[in-house]
Symmetry: C2
Subunit: 449 residues, 2 copies
Amino acid sequence: MSDTKQPVAFIGLGAMGFGMATHLIKQGYPVTGFDVWPPTLEKFTSAGGLTATTPASAVGDKPLCVCMVATAQQAQSVLIDGPDAAAPALPQGAALLLCSTVPCDYVQSLAKQLSAIGRPDIHLIDCPVSGGAARAADGTLSIMAGVPSEEALTKSKPLLGELADPAKLYIVQGGIGAGSNMKMVHQVLAAVQILAASEAMGFATHLGLDPIKTYQAVVNSDAWSWMFEHRVPRMVTNYQPIASATVIIVKDTSIITAEARRSGFSTLMTSVAEQMYFSAIGRGYGADDDSGLVRLYAEGKGRAGPVQGTAESYEEKLALVMGLLKGILLCSAAESLAFAEKVGLDLDQVFDLCINAAGGSQVLKKYGPSIIKAFREGKAREGWSAAESETSLKEVAGGLSAAVEEAQRLKAPVFLGSQALNVVRLALQSSPAGVAAGAVVKVWNSSSV
Amino acid sequence: MSDTKQPVAFIGLGAMGFGMATHLIKQGYPVTGFDVWPPTLEKFTSAGGLTATTPASAVGDKPLCVCMVATAQQAQSVLIDGPDAAAPALPQGAALLLCSTVPCDYVQSLAKQLSAIGRPDIHLIDCPVSGGAARAADGTLSIMAGVPSEEALTKSKPLLGELADPAKLYIVQGGIGAGSNMKMVHQVLAAVQILAASEAMGFATHLGLDPIKTYQAVVNSDAWSWMFEHRVPRMVTNYQPIASATVIIVKDTSIITAEARRSGFSTLMTSVAEQMYFSAIGRGYGADDDSGLVRLYAEGKGRAGPVQGTAESYEEKLALVMGLLKGILLCSAAESLAFAEKVGLDLDQVFDLCINAAGGSQVLKKYGPSIIKAFREGKAREGWSAAESETSLKEVAGGLSAAVEEAQRLKAPVFLGSQALNVVRLALQSSPAGVAAGAVVKVWNSSSV
């Protein structure tokens, strides 16, 4: 391979795509961009890019093409169905990197469609990304790539390496579709934990806690999650800047629940988040930053008539918020890993990716390994007795129960916490005393663990 | 027993209590009323009642006392703790009928308190009611009475008989606390089904269905429930009249979930309803009729940008609403019966009461008996194969799944339907193909069925 950077076509210059494409320019790639929104093209020219007015003209003669549109419908349009679609215009043997978050079955159908239009030579790579706009522009994304062949990997790896943090480029076993499945199970964590940040801060508001102090305490505790750390600061700046619009996570969430319906999996936590997202859209918050979901929780403060909680000190109240978060995080970790097991992903790789990405949390780091071990050892671990170093599921239930009970006194909604408590109780019902926290995963996948 | 009606003291003349007390006046009882709200006492005088200015002066010399305040806290105040409390002033051997909806452990503690203040002679009756203000005024309530002794039953039964429909007076086995538990498991149905009426009509709005046609179709179908029949008409009259304020069902719902926390039971459906009720309170809807909950669902219509469902005809859309409702009703029936089993109630009596009260539904009537049979026969019925006449659980899942999927396309929230679908999938995961619909109850009580 020569040192000269190969020309790249880049389709879809939104918040993520623009950062990725301009990063490639900085790394010396000639990049030809296409987007349906003309002002973006002007901005891209100023950033040193070339532009094209159709997908077909963008990709002509480019051995590498990145597609970073928002949805499977958009990908289908720019690549196959639309006027001047890209796929037929790609040169022989080009690598087509689909970085959009799409359902597994969509990217699999895209591979079939390429064959059907007589272009089986195109090396399709199923490589969704995670990390947000800042990391996109830095070339330090997490990327989870399902590749169909060694040749496809050879052709695409240098470009994937430019876009990803070297430690966060995951080649996912399973070929086309596996990358999207990996992203999907990661988004279980994202979908639940974005909302959990709002739920916890809304609960803190009802408790009368200072938001800044609460934020600092949580991010320095074992209730930390990446989403909490990154969302809460925008709650105190009136949901500005709009780093991730609510409609974006809604789209990813719908991919999760649709696949769950297809495969008969129960997304007990993600479904609650999805319903809250639909409520937010119904309120007109869809275009707002998703940190603005806190309004769904905090707005009721002072509207329930005379209410009185029992927690009095700052420490007591903070402990309730922590208990709520840890219980939710345990359940999102379990749901994510159980779904990964269901769709046949390598759980160690899922774990490694998730703890280093936007779905990361201290709780996942702490309990993930024992959940994975249980799947590996099957029913042998049915006892699930907690080692001395482990938290028992009953302790998690206690933290959740105290929080849900106080929220009930304050008439404050805690949708995820209430669901997590019910799920934990289901697990406790069929478990011996002293069972370890990770045993909650039995609820999702009773036949395997 | 003489034909002369005994004097009755009546504490708490709210929407229910006023109707009950004036009904007793019409039946020839001398009734002395007490309420903290003076205008009510004036109204009561006009209706032929006597009034008192303290609980103690109301009950003096009355062999019968009915307490129909709103909460356990109020009961504790008027009966024991407050100034001029009633209990010490009751004559020897009086019957004290606590008709308020209170937690089981409260009424049990009240019995102990009566002994502790030296009044073990008082015959406390644990007799919550159901049926709404109209039936209260008609003397045709459902009453579920836990009585401590034959003597207490003898003393209180004539009065209970005046207040209740003769076919709907249930003497619940288990003494003090059992009446409240019976009411509690009935309110599982009420709490879920009040919200389900709003969810279904909100979904119908997103689908573009005509509300009146939808209403008529549902009430004449096997998706009928008492709550749907009674709530929907008030949705089309701007939530007027205020027949049952939202805060009332919130109170009852909190009794359910608090007892569930105490006993380790998972109220998967009721908890979703409770969280939505807290959201409604946060929006300022607490004092409104609970039919106004439909706003939480319908407000998003037209706010999600361009959305497109797949159902086109009236029949297709209606089938989605029916599928949503039937799935929710199956899960509320299962949750109610599983909780009844958990707290040790006679399931046949629970069933008979519930199908004839505000919690009634065609779905409960159809599937209740097989769920009860499963509890009775224990694990022997683990197979749960559907008889030819029975609907399979998979069919229920299909109806729910189609509705949830269409709601997802329309970005319309269906909190209960989405939860019901997850619950049904949990049951299907550990069930053989062709399992009967009632088998969903296994999720709540896997150790007994």
